[in-house]
């Protein structure tokens, strides 16, 4: 659209849809706003869903997503592809912003996942199917964890609770909480890797 005229150097490179996430960050590092727009198209939806889950407030969730994407814009030159996938880097920024905000606002936190609203999203776009599939994979993986590990992960990640708050809330020693988070996250990593493998073998 209007942005097309501002970044003529890249116009002939063709469709940004073909560019990897990592390469887009590299373009963002050279102040390419269309590359930022493409990253938003890829991750904005997930980012907003996550921020809304944590913050339970549309305005605050928008703030968190906006700050996170501006963080991508400002610090793209510090992204190290050998350290993290681009998606991990971006979603880590989004999560960080949302957690900072929820703590600053001191909102009610850590309600059980089941009580959170599950809005029915319109399934008209193609990416909806991909998102739905990933959601099922992650939820299945979570179900594969021992209950107390799953609970610790969910309260920390979706609730924004600190480990000390978790210990207090669950009435467990800090060491127990640390170990549940570690075991749970390591197991989740393995389960997601497995699922990713199966997906790619399909």
């Amino acid at each position: 659209m209007t942005a097309l005229t501002t970044t003529t150097s890249r116009a002939a490179a063709g469709d940004l849809a073909q560019v990897t996430d990592e390469a887009l960050i590299s373009l963002v590092a050279s102040s390419d706003d269309q590359a930022l727009a493409e990253l938003y198209d890829r991750f904005g939806r997930v980012a907003y869903g996550l921020a809304l889950r944590i913050l339970r407030d549309e305005t605050l969730a928008q703030d968190a997503v906006q700050e996170a994407f501006l963080g991508v814009w400002r610090s793209a030159d510090q992204y190290l592809p050998e350290r993290a996938k681009a998606s991990t880097w971006i979603l880590t920024l989004v999560h960080r912003r949302a957690v900072d905000l929820v703590r600053r606002e001191n909102l009610r936190r850590g309600e059980p996942l089941e009580q959170a609203p599950e809005p029915i999203a319109p399934s008209t776009v193609e990416s909806e199917a991909t998102l739905g599939f990933r959601r099922r994979v992650v939820q299945e993986a979570l179900k594969g964890l021992p209950t107390e590990q799953r609970e610790a992960l969910e309260l920390a990640y979706y609730g924004g609770l600190t480990q000390s708050e978790l210990a207090e809330r669950l009435g467990q020693p800090l060491g127990t909480i640390k170990s549940r988070m570690f075991m749970g996250l390591a197991r989740l990593r393995d389960l997601l890797n497995q699922a990713g493998l199966e997906e790619s073998l399909r």
Binding site: G14, R45, Q66, F69, A76, Q78, Y79, L161, Q163, M181
Partner: protein, 224 residues
Amino acid sequence: MAADPHSLVAAYALHALDNQEGHSFEEHLAVCERCRGELAGLREAAAGLAYGVAGPPPPPELKERILAQARSERENVASLPARRRNWTAPLAAAAAIAASVAIGLGVWTATRSSGENAFTQVLAKPGAKVIGMGGQGAVTVAPSGEAALLLRVPRAPSGKTYEAWIMQPDTVKPAGIFRGKDGTTVFKIHGRVPRGAVIGVTVERAGGVNQPTQKPFAATEAVT
């Protein structure tokens, strides 16, 4: 309480440390290879949790707001001297560019924006091949062994230069130095590139050296 800092890596990946705990863990992280390695995998798993949420799409105006803000920040910095960054980051970022993009972009830049240059001259020879450099650029080699390099790197910092190498299993020959410029750099390789050789690029002290002092940050596949 001097708890074992290794035990905090998962909590850190989940952002479940308070500010003070977070800072002290980061100090530990700076010196602990093991935790950095562990963190990479745990962060990826944590980010995966983001996909476990169902929610409505963001309002359409959010995208426009983000882009408008980003553009206004770009205009504010445009008049300042080009941002100089730490030396490794842009190289690492450049490494992430997919080969197809770099080649497509670079060849396009080389052939369109700057007209005739070393790269297009070699590329125009009958039988010339283009070999990617892991996403950072490309080399074109004519059947005669004449070659030119196209690379997306930032300008070399003061006191440093890029140096190209013709690398064979038993010999490594210097193939010229260049400073690079932001955007795409085109450079004519000095000497002939035989079959089976690899073209690599390192960063060396200004003036260049006779043998590379480090592993190339960009290299082609072997020339066929």
